[in-house]
Symmetry: C2
Subunit: 323 residues, 2 copies
Amino acid sequence: MHSINQLQAIIHQAIAESRYPQSPKELYEPISYLMELGGKRLRPVSVLMACNLFTDDITKAIKPALAIEVFHNFTLMHDDIMDNAPLRRGKPTVQHKWGNNVAILSGDVMLVEAYKLIMQVNPAILPDVLQIFNDTAVGVCEGQQIDMNFEVLNNVSEADYLNMIRLKTAVLLGAALEIGALIGGASNTDAGLLYEFGINLGLAFQLHDDILDVYGDPEKFGKQVGGDITSNKKTFMLIKAKELASDETKRRLTDWVDRSNAPLEKVAAITEIYDQLNVRQLAEQKMLSYSERALDCLERVNVSPIKKDMLSNFANDLLLREH
Amino acid sequence: MHSINQLQAIIHQAIAESRYPQSPKELYEPISYLMELGGKRLRPVSVLMACNLFTDDITKAIKPALAIEVFHNFTLMHDDIMDNAPLRRGKPTVQHKWGNNVAILSGDVMLVEAYKLIMQVNPAILPDVLQIFNDTAVGVCEGQQIDMNFEVLNNVSEADYLNMIRLKTAVLLGAALEIGALIGGASNTDAGLLYEFGINLGLAFQLHDDILDVYGDPEKFGKQVGGDITSNKKTFMLIKAKELASDETKRRLTDWVDRSNAPLEKVAAITEIYDQLNVRQLAEQKMLSYSERALDCLERVNVSPIKKDMLSNFANDLLLREH
């Protein structure tokens, strides 16, 4: 078996070696630019790890792993237009650097490139892999739309929120693991269990992200702590706080949410309300329950426990990370 | 064999019966809206015609035919954002009606929907069909980018222009015919000939469109005659006029191209220059030469001549149309 570090190195090398046509450069330069901005490469590494559970030969999983990463970066390129985001991983976003039209069309090509890569699997599993990929792609788009709709909704429920992050974040991790497993020769049952492992891990991952955004160590977090609060993002913690607050606290919370002229005070005030209502603990419990469900699915996968250590370590690392 | 009218009716019905999820409605309403705006349905009908050359059972070509039409409408949805177009077939464009973000994301889902439809072919031909579809999708995006680049270039050559319309218009028609043929059980040779038939027909079709834009009967054309001239589109005729004009005429042509304050006079003046230089005839000759090449490819397809009548009639109708 390969270590996570080895798998990451394989992905880094495959991305570095990816070549796109020279022309028209407006289409292809942004793809290389965005792909080379870095990132944790969790999703493509997950494809390789899942494949590696069932076979030592992971070379045939490399192109499909790239497909997942290219797809993920396609969603970033288009989301950044919709969110009017100036920066991505500390660098100018594609639409900021080249304009909206380039970001739209280059993103479109990226989605097709993802399909070119994902279809490089054994023809016997191609229909299954494509169906997973299609369903995932639609789900991620639906998640993004639902997330944008939340911006103008005031009554987002816990269930709405969990459904949104399932679509926007978790399904792609689930698909990465399921596709990797199928490439490795897993049974449909085991591939399905790895999908469920990924869904639950993805949900836990996003809840952890929400917690870090408020309670992360500013020195380690890498982004501005409190970003979700200043941008009024409907996170699990905000939804829970609204649900649990007394009328008076709820009024105070709503007042702060509606204010935009004092961001530092806003972050401090809303964090204090979260503390009073113990919503951090609720988010942690929820996260823990998803992570337990994930590990339970992994346990039921029919391979020797020692092989599964890498995936359970990976899950633990993800949920203990500070950035 | 089915008549073209029957095939068109099959496509119309299949589009009318297409169902998308109810929610999130921002993603799916624009797809139904755009798909139901109408159009000639040339591309999906081409899939069915090509299939019908080789088999009487065209039912298995219906979903892939829809894939081609959904893909085509995806490109329209995104192109209309990039061109900032207010109208499409006389109705508000998606981004005009719902905003840019909806048009981006709904278009993305449409591209995935096209893949969901195109993969519904016999698994034995799935890899080939996907490869054609991927290459075509990339080509169409490249064509759109090259077309946008032309807006700020002054030295577009005839070869550049023909390459652009090949990518932007012709390859999708070629792919529609090739995929239809493969679904019908054609040999790779015959499918390749139908691809070439489509490429050449598509080039002729676009040249005919350029001619109609200047010389069409305003009562029949359906769009404002002279639209390409007022928007300074680098068409075959403008490129040829620049190439053939004397220094004095070229100066006059350039002056008119640079003017935007008198559109009617501009159309009249540039049309007069086209007349003097006979560029209409040059475009017609070029169109004719592509249409002959198309028919030559069709002739070499290994099925009885009578079966090919529908496709040659289709080609002739396309190139004699007045709108």
